[in-house]
Amino acid sequence: MAEENKAEALKGGEFLIKETNPETVFIPEDINEEQKLMADTVREFVEKEIMPRLDAIDKQEPGLTTSLLEKAGETGLLSTSIPEEYGGIGQDFNTNTIIAMEMGPSHSFGVSYAAHTGIGTLPILYYGTEEQKQKYLPKLATGELKSAYCLTEPTSGSDALSAKTTAKLSDDGKYYILNGQKMWITNGGFADILITFAQVDGDKFTAFIIPTDSEGFTRGEEENKLGIKGSSTRALFLDNVKVPKENVLGEIGKGHYIAFNILNIGRFKLGAMTTGGAKRFISVAVQYANERKQFGKTIGSFGAIKHKLAEMAIRTFVSEAAILRTSGLINQRVEELKAQGESYSSALIKAAEEYAIESSIMKVFGSEMLDYVVDEVVQVHGGYGYSEEYPAARAYRDSRINRIFEGTNEINRLLVVDMLVKRSMKGRLDLMTPAMGIQKELLSIPSFGEEPEGLLAKEMEAVRKAKKAALMVAGSAVQKFMQKLGEQQEIIMNITDMVIEIFAAESAILRTLKFANKNGEAAAKYFVDMTKVYVSEALEKINLYGKHAVSAFAEGDELKVLLLGLKRFTKFDPVNVIKLRREVADKMLEENKYCF
């Protein structure tokens, strides 16, 4: 990335009030040769090691997942975020994003992999002492040790800090003694170490590293789950488990920093993996649509199927644009912080925290996009989609968990507005000035400027206005409810949904513009088609969410003004989306795969 572009990088959440220069965003075409080779290796690994064994993995054949994790370790796939001094290969954030995307279609194995390399490894990397890092990271990098992350308990899910597990210092002051129960622990069946959270002295939420060969540790039975049946998920029991006090991770009473910061990265990664998964599953649907004949024609030649194929592709294209844009922002911030002398770990924690809003957005967007895609993949297959003989069924059931773990989508939606409001109050993000400006603009007569000209210029202008719509609704809601906004969850969800659509639509425009600037408008034809469809529908959704929100808290003249404002800020001439979708679908049918 060129020097002059660096200065322009937006802070977290700033996309709502500022514009982004397309040249500064990270897009798939920026992936370098070395990153491509690494992506190839991951794809080959998934193709050769995972795909032929999906049934055996889902049956939890003893030793299979652990041996595959070890094989992944041999290939280097467990060590991409671990620095070289701890036995890893320390790749940058963007490379890790690309690898996560390639791991996306690996079903249950991907979940075991992500739990081990992400929430299972990163807490030690980011918060461990030098001794802890030296002791555990090299073995986590090879897969000799497998890890699990234990936050959830039977009575504390989304409300994680209310955990009941206790840790008590022994009389001689050398050990902590842990008691409690953990639920839904991924890799629970075979993990050698656990990153576990417990309350010290009743209320000091603290993280511990617990070896599973400790006395008093027992595992429950495998959960019988709706999907990702091949990933081990168990309840774990701690009955007077004694661990040396050197196993405290981070500081006593600071466990929530670990829990939340690790989740920021986990949420981002989930967005990356769901995007990678969707790309592959769409290809499955396209190939089926090219093969299956009804009424003497392939089903791909029918408009109803074309609509599905195109819409799946459009949402995936947008998701990829947004996830790489976010990755590029985090990557750049990490490198800047490192250049300023921050350690690798603290640079990553700070960068992930800076873009926590974008990461929550991507968690929600990616998981809902994938759920839409797999649902339509089943539908394109008709009856065969419901049969285990075809890959659609597994994709369908394995997708569902993504809306639940790493913070439910509801929690993440609440968090987006919560973080925006908090940052605004603290002066980190100036939402007030533009929001006040919009209030004034609402009472003035709209100016009828000239139509913007240029590639996607109308779309860019529409997103610019949509940001005003979101700020207007959010600003009025904050004014109305002040400190009690948190109680208005439906309104918060509406505001977040407006914000998500804005981030997604803008990301698609930026990706397409950067691509077109480099390769010409002709080469960008399908990107332009997809962006136009997405933006035009995003504006209608933004308008609808906005209406729901303001109708809930305003009335009379105030409501009238707000509704007029919404209309003004989301106005967009209809686009022939049917024609555009057909073009997108036809291109994929010709290439016989997702080809964007």
Binding site: E34, L37, M38, T41, F45, T75, S79, I89, E591
Partner: protein
């Protein structure tokens, strides 16, 4: 011991190939290129041979700049160095073999691996031609290989079975699927490959005697026919085989 492995850069087999506007070359738009799949067996065998006998492995490829991707992949798998014989023109197999033979001679390689064929033009001929030009022995379509001292014992696929052949160094081996299980380019290997060198030089020029006049896709295969599902269909099947297909 110097070991050479010759690699080619070919369109991904999953790509839908279209003939270009000139009617003589393929349309490059949207085509992704990969290491020729049979060459992956050749690379793996070269690495195994080095691990058993010592020495070093050089990957040689003839073509444009894009071939460096394939060389880089070989380096990432563990090959020590690479040579790109630069040439953007279309050459025939003999002209390719002559340029490769010259480079192999210059390298002093005594064991040379090829894939049994490149999946672009599928001529299955460059390995043998190169052996002939070098005066080396050759074993084609090898599915197993053992080298001890000067002695080479290989199993090769033949119509309906396998044969075991013995020969001596120097030798050219062309690799068939089943010879080994190619290793992944580990992520460490990919990083190490950055520090390895690819020597670039113009490919020695030789006249091509084959000229591509026209390229076209094979005609669409007619759909199969089901004449029946039990014994009563046998008579009709025989009639069709005799009168329509004319094979009996």
């Amino acid at each position: 011991m110097k070991i050479a492995v010759c690699v080619s850069h070919v369109p991904d087999t999953a790509t839908r190939i279209k003939v270009g506007d000139d009617g003589k070359t393929i349309d490059q738009t949207g085509v992704t290129y990969v290491v020729n799949p049979y060459d992956e067996f050749a690379i793996e065998e070269a690495l195994k041979t080095k691990e058993a006998l010592g020495g070093e492995v050089v990957a040689i490829s003839l073509g444009g700049d894009q071939n460096k991707e394939t060389i880089r992949k070989a380096l990432a798998m563990g090959v020590d160095s690479g040579v790109l014989l630069k040439d953007d023109s279309q050459r025939d197999s003999l002209s390719v073999a002559k340029a490769l033979a010259e480079e192999i001679k210059a390298q002093g390689a005594e064991i040379v691996f090829f894939g049994k064929q490149s999946v672009d033009y599928d001529n299955s001929i460059v390995g043998q031609l190169t052996a002939e030009l070098l005066g080396y022995n050759s074993v084609t379509v090898a599915v197993s290989l053992k080298i001890e001292g000067d002695k080479v014992v290989a199993e090769r696929e033949i119509e309906g079975g396998k044969e075991v052949v013995e020969t001596t160094l120097p030798v050219v081996i062309t690799a068939q699927k089943g010879l080994n299980e190619p290793r992944y380019a580990s992520l460490k290997g990919i990083m190490a490959a950055k520090r390895k060198t690819i020597e670039e030089k113009p490919a020695a020029e030789f006249e091509s005697k084959v000229e591509v006049i026209r390229m076209k896709k094979p005609p669409e295969k007619a759909p199969g026919k089901i004449v029946g599902t039990d014994a009563s269909a046998a008579a009709e099947l025989v009639r069709l085989l005799r009168e329509e297909a004319k094979v009996i």
